[in-house]
Symmetry: C4
């Protein structure tokens, strides 16, 4: 008997294993439209910053908003546990690797202060920024009204895995169909990785979905609990759910690929896999504006009983503006991300993100070869 | 002509090449039931410790039993060859790598003392532990009555590969259908890796099967004799045999994945592949309670003519209790294994191990990427 | 739902993942014909040198022509920006890695001098060489008449991705069907990687196609914009387009695999995949005749906003003649490339390049094994 | 269009990518018959030593014959170019790596002395050994009568790739159907890797086939000319040809897997893939009896124009007897090869080599994991 009779396994792929095939027609990069629409909000660039304490604080969120993207502030992290988090950010940055998990566990045991929720949101709004904040499902019912009152523009409800239905004896699970009626703002929910889980979330009436479980560096979810789907596959699955749901309902719910994007090439591939937007952590942790002082850690890292993840040291690489728009002398794909996306769309002949969803993708062995590689780009990238 | 016409090869996978897909419904980890039933014995946690001399002695077996799991004492190892094995354990621990195989060959040439068989079993029973012991097929007929008389609760008959039928000119092979009638305790047999070999073992009337040939670090069976099947594939094959046999006979024979589990992620994947229990060696060799002093070796290592395996040095990593239940500051998945399993079952919506068998698995490239990985877990792992 | 329903991914391969299977008949290497025909021009060996500034200058082009191959001079590189480029070549060679991209950006900001276009071409022609030059699509309309007037023999129009149709608001794209009518010489266009893009280029009336996007070492196109197809797959795709177009039109348009060839083995595989010629960069950068002083960089490296690629240091390995024809004591496949091709064709029983297209190829894991490898070659390679 | 329409590629595997699945019945290793029959000659063990100058000289051939295997003496190597080759063997052993290819080229430019052909063969015969010698196709017609006259027992005609038909303008190719009629001894021919090439060789009336092109460490054929097929696939292909030819003709022509065997595991897999015998180079180069002084090189290494391969330094690992039969304290599978084969056949329930051809094989990822690996072997391997 074939073991496949017991369980059917399908092959999945990460961004590293795929590549985009150029199209039969090319267009000039400056003719591409890369905007992202979430309900009535239009973002000139389809890039979000992760709700991680080494990436987003009030100052970063304001800068990101001015540049046309969207940063998500974590309402359960350091910014709402400490009136002045600079001291603990220093402490995390200076701790040696072997002790940092314990120190993170202690620092994150400080309770959340309700008043800081309002303060942080107002600070972003007062500076003219679009304000997105995140909560975990368990805290959403209690804390989201506080955030709404303070003026948040978008709520992100996020945990490792969030499903339309959660079973618990001890508390009644969050009902998304009720939440979206109670809140005056769009609700983005995540994370999920499969067609059916994504579609069931969309059917609750939410306004956006975060895609990705376990693909990244600051996270060890796959190592600790065995769970995860490579991001190219997860994005394609959820894109299929989005398109089918759109055909069935007329509602187009954007999906945002969250995690596993290491450079501009991965970012471009996410869109070719069907993403409407991407959420970046470690790349933004490398900007001068990030609060992490060149460090990066996930929200599962400080978990008291089952920490999953680790603090990653990253180099500070340049300004947020350079990272998004260049110019740059860095050749590894971590700067001028928007230029890279426009160039990639250009060689695929895609005028906007939804046309980029049609780009051909191939499974391609990772590049390890030495040899000749030779490209002219003047004609295309200018 | 296609070479596949000569021999059909199917693709197999180890735990490293697969990942679990979260379900469409999630449940709180504290609502999961992870117990394992072997005949009339119920174990709160589905984890066994390998019959290896660096892992299990009397003290370890008692500790494991009190925590809800099951350790197997090797009746053909140091514990029954030496009245006081502490000296040879020291010697093994202190030997330099280039000499250790020869030293192991000498130490294991000491004959087994029948009286020590009874002594070790009684020591475990006197302390209130459940007592499982292991024998090789060649010694089972002679030694198992001694072990039964001393009060063993479970007999494990184990060799690299054990089949329902063994051909030999020099002696009559062990007949499992006779053995299970003669003994008053459940009999677990292993190891096997294929559907048909597993099913034929089950049809002899035995009560449990160990799955796994050649997957691990302290073993070089695949290098020396070319034999081995990756553990995810082996587990799925044998799970299919178990389910088919259950449908045909009404008897549910648990299978235990033995070998190749390096962390909590692998452990969770074993259950998603169809295991009812898992048997761990090197992870337990890292506990303070293990007799190996931070060393780990297989029972094929001291073989006089064809040694297969090597002594592995492992770090002592914490207590057995921490390894099983946490809390921990270790983020590599080697502690709080039960918490990891409950969390994994939670994101799959599995209320018990047999529901976990239904989890979706995908083939996923090994994680090597640097980048962003970002998870909230508060909502799920608490 | 299978994610493959969203997008169908096909598996592609690079040269590293394939191997050639010997034929059922062998022939003596000295009976093989390896010539390449481009329109009325016949080249005794089917090897081109890339239009890269570390590889080809006037002196190199002359040497290559005398040996039977074809070097392409870049008309938008250092040779037409600087009357005497030796100083900037020294500077590039001596710059430390962390500064070299910036220095390249500065050096390449020097404008192109129209008069140097004619001077370089005439120098090659005066020495009796066949003169091939390259331009990007954006500059082709203005500069190609200058090159034609100076006596070029072949024009190569090349950018990272060049398609038969390019959309731009700011300027009217290059129309290849018009270009080939205006110019008195054969036009080779590249690069492309897919069946349909290649076929559409052929249908414009051009005379040769360069195949390859993103396969090589001096290039980071796949990392920066996610675009690229492994060379074995790209070559086979474009070879299929060439054969179908030949059957439909009676015109046989040669395709030249450009990039990703690291040694003689890769070169032989390119022909087995359907190439009529190969274009080499880094291997020629290692010759004594190359102007790069043991350095190698792509034309995308100096891009001011989105540099893609890097300067590679390569060892100077011997003369161009040794590289092409041996004899050699080098055993890594970087010398006696023509001898290697003839030997490979011999064991495949291929009398010419088009018979070599029929060789069987298999997907073969990369060689990493230690062990015995034993070959007699006297009977075949002499 | 799919590129697969241009050329169909099939996936092939080396020994590293496969593993043997144990059978449903096991037998005691001491009941296995591992003999190899070549025409009327019966060899107790199915292992040949390669005709390489670092492996086989007269002394080695005699020792191998006494132990039940067969060593092949190269009649075009050092033993027939030098009356006393000890000096050049020292020179090769002492040369630094960067100069060794040049030195080998010089040493092998010494002409072959016809009288030494007879001397070497007689020396082996006088000591009671079975004498197998090798020639390349180009020299076979002239030299094989000399070898026959001197008393050789088996002739091996060997080059990188040998086919039933070879086309040359300068000389008439060797006709195997004539050769086998002229010679009084069995003729083994190689190497080949495909079903059809193997079958065509068998149809000429020869008595054995060597399988393998390009799989090994002392060879760079795949790197230099792109040609090679992984050994598991090549063996299965040629085994299919042998079985089909046997069904058609009634003649059973043994195939010998030559190359790519690094340890006992690979050796066992070769038989499970259909081999009747195996030919080993580097493993025997590690014995005390080998003339290479811990060095190993292929016959293509000294090629004057296109050297393919390199001198490998190997450790001297023990005696030939230990390598074949143990006992051993080495756990990496390079000693007790016959014991390993018997044990492997035992767990597959194979009583002889032809039953071992029926063993199940799976594609299995290479073992790289750390973890638990635990085996008892007493019951099986004794």
């Amino acid at each position: 008997m074939e073991y496949s009779q017991y369980k059917k396994l399908r092959q999945t792929y990460g961004f590293e294993e795929i590549a985009i095939v150029p199209g039969d027609i090319t267009i000039n990069p400056d003719q591409t439209d890369v905007s992202l629409v979430i309900e009535r909000l239009n973002f000139p660039i389809p890039i979000l910053a992760s709700a991680m304490d080494g990436v987003v604080d009030v100052r970063f969120a304001i800068a990101m908003s001015k540049l046309g993207g969207l940063a998500v502030l974590n309402l359960e992290g350091l910014q709402t546990r400490y009136a002045d988090p600079e001291g603990v950010l220093d402490e995390i940055a200076n701790e040696p690797p072997e002790k940092v998990t314990q120190v993170l566990q202690r620092i994150y045991s400080e309770p959340i202060k309700d008043n800081l929720i309002g303060d942080r949101i107002k600070a972003i709004k007062d500076a003219g920024g679009v304000c997105a904040v995140s909560l975990t499902p368990a805290n959403t019912k209690r804390m989201s009204p506080l955030a709404a009152e303070a003026g948040m523009d978008i709520l992100v409800v996020q945990s490792t895995v969030t499903t339309a239905r959660h079973m618990s004896k001890s508390y009644r699970g969050l009902i998304f169909s009720e939440l979206v009626k109670q809140l005056p703002v769009p609700v983005i929910v995540g994370n999920c990785v499969s067609y059916s889980a994504c579609r069931k979330l969309m059917e609750t009436g939410i306004h956006g979905v975060l895609v990705g479980v376990g693909p990244g560096a600051a996270c060890t979810t796959r190592e600790v609990i065995g769970v995860g789907v490579p991001q190219a596959a997860a994005t394609m699955d959820c894109a299929a759910a989005r398109d089918d749901y759109f055909r069935a309902s007329g509602r187009y719910i954007p999906i945002v690929t969250d995690g596993g994007i290491r450079n501009g090439g991965d970012l471009c591939k996410a869109f070719a896999c069907g993403a409407d937007g991407v959420m970046l952590g470690s790349i933004f942790a490398q900007t001068e504006e990030a609060p992490g002082r060149g460090n990066h850690w996930g929200m599962a890292t400080p978990h008291e009983a089952l920490p999953r993840g680790t603090r990653i040291r990253v180099a500070v690489n340049g300004s947020l503006e350079q990272t998004l728009f260049g110019p740059t002398s860095v050749t590894n794909g971590t700067q001028n991300l928007v230029g890279a996306l426009r160039t990639s769309m250009g060689v695929c002949g895609a005028r906007n993100v939804r046309e980029m969803h049609q780009a051909e993708i191939v499974i391609a062995p990772s590049i390890k070869t030495e040899g000749k590689g030779f490209q002219y780009t003047q004609g295309l990238a200018k």
